[in-house]
């Protein structure tokens, strides 16, 4: 009987205004068959520091986060009051 743990990014979503969300699934396998799974979610807003993020997520952020997207997102946030 062998137990193994794997971590995989199983979902990456990009919203219309440039927010990048991804989900990391941690899977516990018993003799190769999944018996449990947990999730950890992360969201990144345009212009946010990407230090320590997964390479595939960084690639997507760099492609999506143009200067225009970052400026538009900042304007959106600053326009929200109460």
């Amino acid at each position: 009987m062998a137990f193994t743990e794997t971590k995989i990014i199983d979902q990456i979503t990009v919203t219309e205004n440039g927010i990048v969300l991804y989900r990391e699934a941690t899977r516990i396998l018993k003799d190769g068959e999944q018996i449990a799974q947990t999730y950890h979610r992360t969201s990144l807003t345009p212009g946010q520091d990407l230090t320590g993020q997964p390479v595939q997520v960084i690639a997507i952020c760099n492609a999506v986060w143009t200067d225009e997207v970052i400026a538009a997102y900042q304007a959106q946030i600053e326009s929200q009051t109460i």
């Binding site: 969300l21 018996i35 999730y39 950890h40 979610r41 992360t42 969201s43 929200q80």
Partner: protein, 172 residues
């Protein structure tokens, strides 16, 4: 043919036991190997029907500084549960000592907040800073801010060295 559902035999037919399961998978999902309940697809298969529960997910998330001040939170514990279109996210963390006058911003919410203003809310259940009363998720964003009782977003320095438990409830 008759089909019977009871707590002892599960689902049975007059030809014998069809299924005796403690977990049920919908949408082609493999039922969970542990506990008893309903397993939903890993990626939501959204239903437009108002009486259909089409998603359930629970997990953890990491609140981070979104103010641009480069702050690092400590002692983070954060969890979420999504039921249908509602998200319940909470987080406990320590705010660092800082002199930053930027407006605080907590990023990393597990799902993007919906675009309809008013379908969101948040509060602080634990904190040692008097001006921290509300947590306000931002529409169409994955960030929120800690605010006082009148709704004014606080500066980072006003929250310096504080310890907080924030709770957000919002529709996606």
């Amino acid at each position: 043919m008759s089909i019977v559902l009871d707590g002892t035999n599960g689902i049975t037919t007059n030809a014998g036991t069809l299924l005796s399961a403690t977990t049920i998978g919908v949408g082609g999902t493999t039922p969970s190997a542990s506990g008893a309940g309903v397993s939903f697809p890993a990626t939501q298969s959204a239903s437009s029907d108002a009486n259909t529960l089409d998603d359930y997910e629970e997990g953890t998330w990491t609140p981070a500084d979104g103010s641009g001040a480069g702050l690092s939170f400590a002692n983070i514990q954060a969890q979420y549960t999504k039921i249908g279109r509602m998200v319940f996210a909470s987080a406990t963390f320590d705010f660092p000592s800082t002199a930053s006058t930027a407006t605080n911003s907590i990023s990393g919410l597990p799902f993007t907040v919906g675009t309809t203003s008013g379908y969101i809310g948040g509060f602080i259940t634990n904190g040692n800073v008097a001006v921290a009363v509300r947590f306000r998720p931002g529409n169409n964003s994955s960030t929120g801010s800690i605010r006082d009782g009148s709704g004014t977003a606080q500066t980072n320095v006003a929250l310096s060295s504080g310890a907080f438990t924030i709770n957000a409830v919002y529709m996606v």
